[in-house]
Symmetry: C2
Subunit: 325 residues, 2 copies
Amino acid sequence: MASIKKIANDIGVSTATVSNALTGKGRVSEEMASRIKERADELGYRPSIAARALKTGQTGILGLVMPDLTNPLFPRIAQTLAIEADQRKMGVLIADSRGDAAEQSRAFKRLLARGVDGILVVPQKGTSPEPMPVPVVVINTASDPLNSVSADHAHGGSLVARHVADIGHRRVMILGGDPVSEVQRDRIKGMVQALRDDIEVNTSWGDEGVKKAVECVQAGVTAIMTTSDLIALRVRSNLIRKNIAVPDHVSLTGFDNMAFAPIMHPSLTTVAQNVGEIASRAIAIMDSKISGAIPDDEGETVPMRLVVRQSTSIPTHQAHRRRIP
Amino acid sequence: MASIKKIANDIGVSTATVSNALTGKGRVSEEMASRIKERADELGYRPSIAARALKTGQTGILGLVMPDLTNPLFPRIAQTLAIEADQRKMGVLIADSRGDAAEQSRAFKRLLARGVDGILVVPQKGTSPEPMPVPVVVINTASDPLNSVSADHAHGGSLVARHVADIGHRRVMILGGDPVSEVQRDRIKGMVQALRDDIEVNTSWGDEGVKKAVECVQAGVTAIMTTSDLIALRVRSNLIRKNIAVPDHVSLTGFDNMAFAPIMHPSLTTVAQNVGEIASRAIAIMDSKISGAIPDDEGETVPMRLVVRQSTSIPTHQAHRRRIP
DNA sequence: TCCTGTCGCTTAATCGTTCAATCAGGAGAC
DNA sequence: GTCTCCTGATTGAACGATTAAGCGACAGGA
């Protein structure tokens, strides 16, 4: 309602002076500036984002593209991103890239058409966002050459693996969800590297992997490390059916510290991302990219945190050692 | 880059004609219109949202306020909302209201300052959004007088209660998370109403309720109905500790069909919201409110769906009937 | 006295669209 | 031949901010 013009008229100065006073850019006397500010909030003045955007070419809006908003991590990322962006006077527009790479690039187009100042993207598994006319911040994993900032998934993997090795396990199974995912590959890479040579490691993926888990345990594996709490939960359910106790018979670990991890039984040992820190850095990087300061090209990495709960313990039960199928 | 002016110059007409041709509003000859459109996409013309917003006063952006983005339902709501909004050429800006009512109204302010055309809100438990200068669509529950559209939580409650009663349970416990939540109260109301008079019902809330659950079972309750899958999982964990089998000893139900419900053991009988339909209707209502068509003031309600899994079965185990503590 | 510099403010253009008002010109009615 | 109506296109003024350039006035130095 109240425009810069209204304020200018009321006080009897030009709109330019009002603009200068309010943004603190030009040369305005102390006294005039405070008179203007006073009148401005008397009127409840709010600058028109649209007008400013038109003139300056900047909308103050960031686009957020996520592969699948149902990703359980999405809420926390979105939340922190929104808060952090807000502190820099920016808004976050969401765009869903529902499953495939084509939809992902359509999401980019939509956001660009809306005139976003930059795009934050958690890329679709196995895809790289094409070059774009606005700054892009990629949240993926260290091994992605385009990665701007992410959790140190490999380090997370090493943390959990070292924990498992330290408490005495010598035959472990690693279980991933989808080998296409760079994130999961990095997690597993970290696990493998952390295990000393005298430890027997067996890696499987996906649904067959989950089934195989039971066989492995029966063959003498004493710990199963997964790349996701959801996978861990599925394994846990299968183990219950076979009457295999966790952690007494086999230890189990997840990844991401999802909502159910602390309340399932036994509570799940897992690795937590510092999502807040990641989002906060992502916005910081975006901010400097937008303002032209070219930040160090290398991707940043945020440490993960091992959360030890009751699903891991020293291997008490020793099955007859057999060949792993 | 390419503006309406550029096209006008190239073809040799006025900008007004170009605008008319592109939006299909004024009077333009067929031939001229197609020449203009052709040139427009030769140049890759995209209208400037900012300029249009400035002129029309409409930004084409909707604000989405959720009490806590970590709400596990948020992703699905946000996703469908985003998709549905996009089909109407609108964008969705997220705002987090982190916990308290004050932050919720601050979120409104932020969105309004950005010039959103309307606000979609999943209100903070026990709060009502204040009147606002733009249309507001409230997604809550039928008993909220401001509710625009929501799942029929009471009906969902009755569905699950009837299921439990039908398979033969006569002593049941109802377990809610927080009595401040209208949604949970409606769910419980539905449960209670659906149970026939000869069924003994015991209602508890929160942490103490979860503890009490074990006692209730020991006292002869054969089914526990909760208002959330998360609560159900916690109960399940407690029961395991006491060696009480589900569903053999006691049946258990959740609400919301969260990601872990099908993969926990036993898989959880629960009630699913048709989130897609809710979001889709929310956008439709918003659309008509924005375009001035005043829709029927009454809140709409979307049916819920009972998902029967393995956590419920006929009561086989009959404990000695005791007084429920 | 004249020149130069700074301060405080104004002028005016501009961003890209929309839209009410207007205008040119041909068709048809009388 | 004049008057009216309709069609297709134009004009020009907004919308609300930003910003480069300009302009008095006054101060200080030579």
